[in-house]
């Protein structure tokens, strides 16, 4: 009875963790079909990994503007305005639907097949739910935010971006029990620095949304900012609209209310009624060691630096095998590194798009990001540029043949 040789493995040192080797691009994906009856074709050697072109100042400026803008689910006006200004010169038609989705069409010379590419404009945050007599604001969380990341944070409230702080008890006065207790969101208060409810009401009304007050920045190989989920997807989609035209009609949907239940995408998907869909999002990278123990981190979802993440299965969608294979083949053929998002968790707009009408083959492609849904997220710029490059090539090479069974 052979035991797993765990004790013989050299103990990895948590601090000086050696960087695992970058994956070599693999040629054409495993088809999820029955075993082939034909002899296996001789596969050409995979092209070497090629670094993507760096983002231009223009592209970084757009991302910075998007990341810094405040657009919590249901209140996406600020981001919508930036996007409308950015895309108008590059599209044939643009509309804002009743929910606030931006639906743009870039027609191509082909037969007018509709391919949908979606990215969501909204971010998680909070909403002012009431005023206390002492001038502080009561809040409700919008979207999935861990209660523990809220204490003591610098926030901006409302369209006027009124600065405030989420109050926290002073550490000097806390005993051990209180220090380790989790404060629930409904126990928190936002302090705007005023002394009465009347004064507070002049600055922020019930219903106003609030965001973390994080400034976007480039830090070495990384990008740091709030709401990179999914301003990165929005920035990518803007770049795709600046490119082309493609061999089909590109329907771009900048959706609303993804973070509260993929709601804008349901409506956008129905309106566009595409033949297939690509969803651009940002997905957690939980890739640092989970503890000091020797145990290997086998649940990281995605890893920074390993390229854009192609989804096979998340909690909301079983991504279409043909589109997954197409993205893999496109990446392999161009030396673009990629990873497969670990199946099981997470969700994207694909969840509601693929179940629309009589069904839509859909695949999601995400930039891996650490600390999503917290005040500061971190991504590798190269993973983002690789996702842009991959999507560009995927759209440039897309034909209906890809959907043939």
């Amino acid at each position: 009875m052979a035991q797993k040789p765990v004790s013989q493995k050299p103990a990895p040192k948590p601090k000086a963790r050696p960087r695992p080797a970058r994956p070599v691009a693999k040629p054409a994906a495993k088809a999820a079909a029955r075993p082939s009856r034909r002899p296996a074709p001789v596969e050409p050697a995979a092209p070497p990994i090629v670094k993507p072109p760096k983002a231009t100042a223009n592209e970084l400026d757009l991302l910075k503007e998007l990341s810094n803008a405040a657009s919590v689910s249901g209140d996406e006006g600020a981001v919508r305005k930036i996007i409308l200004d950015a895309i108008r010169p590059h599209v044939d038609e643009v509309n804002v639907d009743v929910m606030g989705n931006v639906l743009a069409i870039k027609r191509g010379p082909g037969r007018g097949e509709r391919v949908l590419v979606a990215a969501h404009m909204d971010e998680v945050g909070f909403m002012v739910s009431g005023h206390d007599a002492d001038g502080t604001l009561r809040i409700e969380i919008v979207g999935g935010v861990d209660d523990r990341v809220l204490l003591g944070k610098h926030v901006l409230v409302g369209a006027k971006r009124v600065p405030g702080v989420i109050g926290v008890a002073p550490v000097h006065l806390l005993n051990a029990d209180r220090r380790s207790a989790v404060t629930k969101a409904n126990q928190l208060r936002v302090d705007l620095g005023v002394e009465s409810a009347d004064a507070a009401k002049k600055l922020a009304k019930a219903g106003d949304r609030g965001v973390f007050a994080t400034e976007f920045d480039v830090v070495g190989p990384s990008l740091r900012g709030k709401a990179l989920d999914d301003r990165l997807g929005c920035a990518t989609l803007v770049e795709l609209l600046r490119g082309g035209p493609y061999g089909f009609d590109l329907h771009a949907a900048f959706t609303v209310q993804e973070e509260v239940g993929l709601r804008g995408a349901k409506v956008a998907g129905y309106a566009v009624d595409p033949v297939c869909a690509f969803v651009l999002d940002c997905t957690p990278a939980h890739d640092l060691p989970h503890s000091d123990e020797e145990r290997e981190n086998a649940q990281y979802n995605t890893r920074l630096g390993y390229g854009p993440a192609i989804y096979v299965a998340d909690a909301s969608t079983l991504h279409d095998a043909r589109l997954v294979a197409y993205l893999q083949a496109t990446a392999a053929g161009a030396g673009i590194p990629y990873q497969i998002q670990q199946p099981g968790g997470g969700g994207t707009d694909a969840g509601s798009i693929h179940r629309n009408r009589a069904g839509v083959p859909t695949v999601s492609l995400s930039v891996p990001g650490r600390y999503l849904h917290t005040p500061v997220s971190l991504v590798r710029a190269e993973d983002w540029r690789n996702s842009v490059k991959l999507m560009k090539l995927a759209l440039e090479g897309w034909t209906t043949k890809i959907l043939k069974r």
């Binding site: 040789p5 670990q342 839509v360």
Partner: protein
């Protein structure tokens, strides 16, 4: 019918990866319906067109997909960590066998040094051993899906296999399609995908088919095992006519129609109230503007284990009941 059942239950086909099982079903029903089509998500739809003015448009649905597992991480020694596809119970996994699309077999093992050895392990404490020695020589990649692996056995009236849910329903639909001589109705036999992950195939299929009545054919639990569920459904008492499950209140008109047809044809049947679990019928009921929906259930013990057990007489009687329903008028 038994060779067909054996072929169906033993075929690979976890949710999202139904190509192989769909091809087999398609070959079985070739040239029988008026037309066969595959919709955008992969549902197989076989239609018998209407030939009478009073006929209704009926959608029948049995799902092609089975529960399974999907590789989520290959460790440096070639062991495969995995996530579930559909409701997979860890208690049925340890020591079990799985098979990937290319035929690679694996054994499911558990971390022996885990937090509480006396408790049933969590899925994250389990791994698949395909006989690899390193990540490089492991034939399995992240994202590869596997179904459970267990051959069909027969004992007396009982058939035992993995994926009776819902390959037995698929078999019932195929046999019904083959035996159906005359029907006043337009009948869409839908072999649906992705039921186990949330009825994701049946909803869109129902939108496309746009029928007036929906009937699913799926398995249901039984109350006839020791210290078992408090259900009146038992193996050998005939097809179960669904009254309610956790996703649907069956349309009473459909339920009553099924009860009536069973009585007329002297088919022993039973009524089913299921506390946990649902079927494609729930998705059909609320598609578009809604439709009356019900379900013909095949009583099954040990559902979502590698040894699901049915009584073959119940299966045969289910085909008979479905034929009775389709061959006669449907007036709700």
């Amino acid at each position: 019918m038994k060779p067909l059942i054996k072929k169906l239950v033993e075929t690979y086909g976890p949710s999202g990866h139904e190509d192989q099982i769909r091809d087999i079903v398609r070959a079985e029903i070739r040239n029988i319906p008026d037309y066969i089509t595959v919709d955008p998500l992969g549902n197989l739809i076989a239609v018998i067109k209407k030939n009478s003015r009073s006929g209704k448009k009926v959608m029948l649905s049995a799902h092609l997909d089975e529960i399974g597992v999907m590789a989520s991480h290959i460790d440096e020694h070639g062991f495969v960590r995995f996530a579930n596809i559909g409701a997979v119970f860890p208690i049925h996994c340890v020591g079990g066998r799985v098979r990937f699309a290319d035929g690679t077999l694996g054994v499911i093992g558990a971390d022996v040094r885990r937090d509480d050895v006396s408790k049933v392990p969590a899925l994250s404490d389990l791994f698949i051993d395909v006989g690899a020695t390193s990540k490089a020589d492991c034939p399995v990649k992240v994202g590869d899906a596997a179904g459970f692996y267990r051959p069909l056995e027969e004992q007396g009236h009982r058939l035992i296999a993995k994926s009776m849910d819902d390959r037995i329903g698929v078999a019932v639909l195929i046999e019904t399609l083959k035996a159906l001589k005359r029907t006043p109705h337009e009948v869409a036999f839908v072999f649906s995908v992705q039921e186990e992950v949330g009825l994701r195939g049946a909803g869109p299929a129902a939108f496309g088919v746009d029928a007036e009545i929906g009937i699913a054919v799926d398995v249901t639990l039984t109350g006839d095992t020791p210290n078992g569920y408090k259900m009146e459904v038992a193996l050998g008492n005939g097809p179960a006519i669904k009254v309610r499950d956790s996703g649907m209140l069956a349309d009473p008109r459909i339920k009553n129609l099924m009860v009536q047809r069973a009585q007329e044809a002297k088919i022993k049947s039973q009524l089913e109230v299921l506390l946990g679990g649902t079927t494609d019928a729930a998705a059909m009921q609320i598609s578009r503007g809604g439709m009356p929906a019900g379900c013909l259930s095949i009583p099954t013990r040990y559902v979502h284990s590698p040894s699901e057990m049915v009584d073959f007489r119940d299966v045969q009687a289910s085909v008979q009941l479905l034929l009775e329903i389709l061959q006669k008028p449907i007036d709700l």
